[in-house]
Every structure is written in C-alpha cells, then in structure tokens.
C-alpha cells in the first residue's frame, strides 16, 4: 500500500513538474504546480509529517498558488514568445542540468550513509503539538523574526503594487 501510494504520488508529482515546464500557458503551469504540491503533501503524510502536509496545502496550495493564479488572471498572461536571447542558457542548460541531477543521484546512492526504509506510521513526529513545542521553544527567535519578515513583505507588496509609476 505504501509503495503503491508512493509510486503513484511520485509519478504524479514528476509528471506535473514536467508538465509545468512543458506547458506554454502560465495557468496550466500553475495547475501543474498545484498537482505537484498536492502529491507532495501526500508524500509528507507518508513520511509522518502530517502538520507539514496540511501546511503545504494551506500555505502553498491555498495561499501562494491562489496568488499566482490571481496574478495570471489579472495580467491576462498569454502564452510566451520564443526568444533568441539567452543563447548560453539554451545551449549549456540541458547538459549542465543532466549532470546536476546525475551527480545528485550518484551522491544520494553512493555517498550517503545507509538510510531507514520508510514505513507509514512507524514514526509520526510531525504532529502539530510537537512542531508547536519546538517552534515556541528552540526556534522562537526565528519564528518571531519570520513574522517580522512577513510584515515587511506585506508592506513591501502593498507599496510595490499600489505605487503609481509613470
């Protein structure tokens, strides 16, 4: 059951990710990204991170991606044009990318120490209670700083978006 779920979610997430890159229209890409996020949330659940899974759906799926869709709809972003610029990226991008992924896979397979096999429910550390405890004790300062960061981001976004630029 675990394996089945993992494989399904992995295929969905990779498929959606590839679709994100291949789709010409931003809104298709955005929906693909939501798909990735949803399947990742399931994977988080498999890994025993239920709070993160829900936060993934609420924050990413519910807030961030809605913003994206909103902006796409607002700007009526069309399909993109082909461009002759950035020749370096066009040429060197794919070889570098394959090398990168291959290197990462090699490192994961070869270099990393032996890893636990994942069994659903064998370790559930990511409850809301545990995360809350850690967040408000050990990570209290980062947490507060992050809240200030969000405040700044709100103000920045408001200023940027409402500014009248000639």
């Amino acid at each position: 059951m675990d394996t089945f779920l993992f494989i399904v979610c992995a295929i969905v997430s990779v498929g959606c990710a590839v679709n994100l890159v291949l789709q010409k229209h931003p809104i298709s890409s955005a929906l693909s990204l939501i798909g990735v996020m949803g399947s990742l949330a399931v994977l988080y659940l498999l890994l025993g991170a239920e709070f993160i899974a829900m936060a993934q759906m609420i924050v990413y799926g519910g807030a961030v991606m809605v913003l994206f869709i909103f902006v796409i709809m607002l700007l009526n972003a069309g399909t993109e044009k082909t461009s002759a610029k950035s020749w370096f990226a066009q040429i060197a991008g794919f070889p570098l990318l394959s090398a990168f992924v291959a290197l990462l896979a090699f490192l994961i397979k070869v270099v990393l120490p032996p890893l636990h096999p994942v069994e659903f429910g064998s370790w559930v550390g990511g409850t809301a209670e545990a995360i809350g405890m850690l967040l408000f004790t050990k990570y209290l300062l980062p947490f507060e700083v992050t809240s200030v960061l969000i405040l700044i981001a709100i103000i920045g976004a408001v200023v940027l978006a409402r500014k009248e630029i000639d």
């Binding site: 992924v101 550390g125 995360i131 992050t146």
Partner: protein, 102 residues
C-alpha cells in the same frame, strides 16, 4: 508492500529540483520562472522532511515550515514586482527585462 527506501524520496526530490531548474532556464515567462522557483523550494522541502524521517527528529519539519512561510512572503513581494514590471514594461517576457545592460 510496505518499505520504500528513503533514497527514493531523495531522488524524487532531486528530480523535482532539476525540473525546477529546467523551468527556470528554459521558460521565458516571468511567472512561470517564478513558479519554477517554487517548485525547487518544494523539492528542497521534500528533502528536509525525508532527512527528518531519517534522523527521527522534527527539526527538518521546522525548516520546511520556515521555507513555506518565507516562500509565501516571497510570493507576495515577487508577484507585486511582476505586477510592477508589467505595469512599466507591458511585458512578462523575462528576456525583454534587461535594461540594466548598457
């Protein structure tokens, strides 16, 4: 039934991250590029959670939580910037936003 090697999760994360890079490098719409960045962040989050499982500690969850929060803030500001770019340039093509070059 049952046991999946943790390395699968990590490799999935690597693949997703690579896909994100591909989106960043090959896509030309600012919004799609931005979404590719989000995809990369998601891939990294998966790694965090996977390593958290390996170490049986939830610090990794905290990290991915912070990543999400920062990503939300970043999305707000980033989309505002995209909005401003569109207002000023009338384009969303990333290659046409190059006026810093002489």
């Amino acid at each position: 039934m049952g046991h999946i090697p943790l390395s699968w999760y990590l490799i999935l994360s690597a693949i997703l991250f690579g896909t994100g890079i591909a989106g960043f490098v090959y896509r030309k719409s600012v919004i799609t590029v931005f979404m590719s960045i989000e995809l990369m962040l998601n891939a990294v989050n998966l790694s965090f959670v996977a390593f958290s499982y390996q170490l049986q500690r939830i610090d990794g969850h905290i990290y991915s939580f912070f990543v999400m929060v920062v990503a939300a803030a970043e999305a707000a500001v980033g989309l505002a910037i995209i909005l401003t770019i569109f207002k000023n340039r009338g384009t969303l093509q990333i290659d046409e936003v190059d006026s810093m070059k002489l």
